[in-house]
Subunit: 338 residues, 2 copies
């Protein structure tokens, strides 16, 4: 089996946007599970600093995740969307609405840092990197994991030479990882059943898993490990803002929905005023909408306004526990039934 | 535990529309699982005849399922939808397009027959019947199962006095059973995890389950039995038309989608020309669209035109087996891992 040599078959999902602090990654790896740095939005230099920090905090394997770049879109007319966003902006700031025109970090430069620093596991989302990239990591002795949302995507990943595949069910929080043009939104159990018939390499189950009982169910269904994102957001070491953590733990629990309103790419978040207001309007494609709303969302976080934040959450988020990462891992492992 | 006293904890789902023949129901019950008559669309007299036939074929428990009636809608202007359907009709028939204006059978009359004939299990979908209905069945010694798509619906059902709850995941084929105004489309595993924390009565897992491995996974996740629909459509005893069975077994496997185009109510079916043509247009509410397309769909079935049929299918349908019902049940039971 080509998974990292883990004492506990739990992977903390690589969530981008500052949640996966080096402290969280190292705490998870030190507990015998696999910590993951969500480095998709990070500059090469930020990645280098984070990797060095993680290595200073743990001797155990860890994972760094990057986003496969997508074909860029011509910027559409942003007048209407800015009209929609401006009232929210004005609630948060006295300055004029800031439409960012930032560019995502360059994938090749991010890869270069990972190869220079060496990482035990390299994982990626939103596509398949060139063959040479996968080959270079494997030559260095890194394990390589890809992300699939359908059995067909899993087959493409297996053919690309990855060591294991994260099967992302429709239940999962944050961005959909699909790289085919269409996403049929397979529920996790069915995705595992169909993918298990399609590929031979190890499968990692992701989507809605919050406890050992559900994790064990995915092991029976063919997974060799589980990847949990939402469950780690409310841990002590997570870099999630306090307002975000509170929104996950608060009762009653509003529904989640898959929406493009925050970034231009479908992602699962708790339904809030921002979703209600923008859903149904034409949304610019990723990453344009991401940069357009980024500053607004971080202002909302600073000002404790959850109704204007992107509250990424899997469908299982009502089971979040406020706890430190090691305790969470040990509790889940204690709940295992197989 | 208040499930029927089953040798094998498998329930054949009550699919309406002629699939669940008395022969299928009895074959399943004779094999030690629970057969279900999908009687939602049947007249009281048809139901009586079917129940008598089932009782002649098996001494074991079986289930009869009814639809809870929904608030009726004023009939909208049907001009546009008839414009869309007419070209399909003309491909299938030389007569003028027939817009049915049938009414669904009367729920109270259906219930009366079930109470007169007595049934071991009464189950229902799309809502919650009046308290007196549930009470009358329980007084007779029938078990009563309701259908939920969210933990909140499950709580309402538990409070109504049912004996067990079918938890329908987003993976399942055919109609969504939700009776709240909104359907957050929980994947089965997460629905089980959250519902298990919410109610105390036994849960039955439904949605995408096609084999013993996946069934076992739901047992670990808290289910006491599994309900399989799609897997039984391709059995010898199923009343599904040959074109429908062939569409489920044919390779490669097109995707499924949740769509209102066939009946006016969201249901999962294999994507075909009918879906492509009507998706995105305004569709009259259930049951108006159901009756509007019913004759067209049955003509398409007669004429071997799967692209114009409602090919209900769960996300796991690529794992369908052409086999008799008893053999399917025994194979699945042999695959159980817990």
């Amino acid at each position: 089996m080509k998974l990292a040599n883990l004492a506990i078959p739990i992977i903390q999902a690589p969530m981008a946007g500052g949640i996966t602090t080096p402290e969280l990654v190292a705490a998870v790896s030190n507990a015998g599970a696999l910590g993951s740095l969500g480095a998709g939005y990070m500059t090469p230099n930020e990645i280098r600093i984070a990797i060095k920090k993680i290595k200073g905090l743990t001797k155990n394997p860890f994972n760094v995740n990057l986003f496969i770049p997508e074909p860029s879109h011509p910027t559409p007319d942003l007048f209407l969307i800015q009209q929609l966003l401006t009232p929210f902006w004005n609630e948060l700031s006295d300055t004029r609405f800031e439409a960012f025109h930032a560019k995502p970090p360059v994938f090749e430069e991010q890869v270069q840092v990972l190869l220079e620093e060496t990482v035990p596991v390299f994982s990626f989302t939103f596509g398949v990197p060139p063959f040479s990239v996968i080959e270079n990591f494997k030559t260095q002795g890194s394990l390589v994991y890809g992300t699939a949302t359908t059995p067909e995507e899993a087959k493409i990943l297996e053919n690309s030479g990855v060591d294991a595949i994260v099967c992302q069910g429709s239940e999962s929080g944050g961005h959909r990882g699909n790289f085919s043009s269409h996403d049929p939104l397979y529920g996790l159990l069915t995705l595992l059943a169909l993918t298990h018939e399609t590929v031979k390499i190890p499968l990692i189950a992701a989507g809605g898993i919050m406890n050992g009982r559900t994790a064990s169910a995915t092991f029976l269904a063919g997974a060799r490990a589980v990847q949990l994102g939402t469950a780690f957001i409310t841990t002590t070491e997570s870099g999630a803002n306090a307002t975000y953590k509170k929104a996950l733990l608060k009762r009653p629990h509003p529904e989640t929905t898959l929406t493009k309103v925050f970034t231009g790419k479908p992602a699962r978040a708790i339904v809030n005023a921002f979703v209600h207001k923008l859903e149904g309007h034409e949304i610019p494609p990723y990453p344009i909408q991401h940069f357009l709303t980024q500053k607004l969302r971080s202002l909302a976080a600073e000002k404790n306004r959850p109704e204007l934040m992107s509250l990424w959450a899997g469908q299982g988020y009502p089971l979040c526990r406020p706890i430190n990462a090691a305790a969470l891992i040990h509790q889940i492992a204690k709940e295992f039934q197989v």
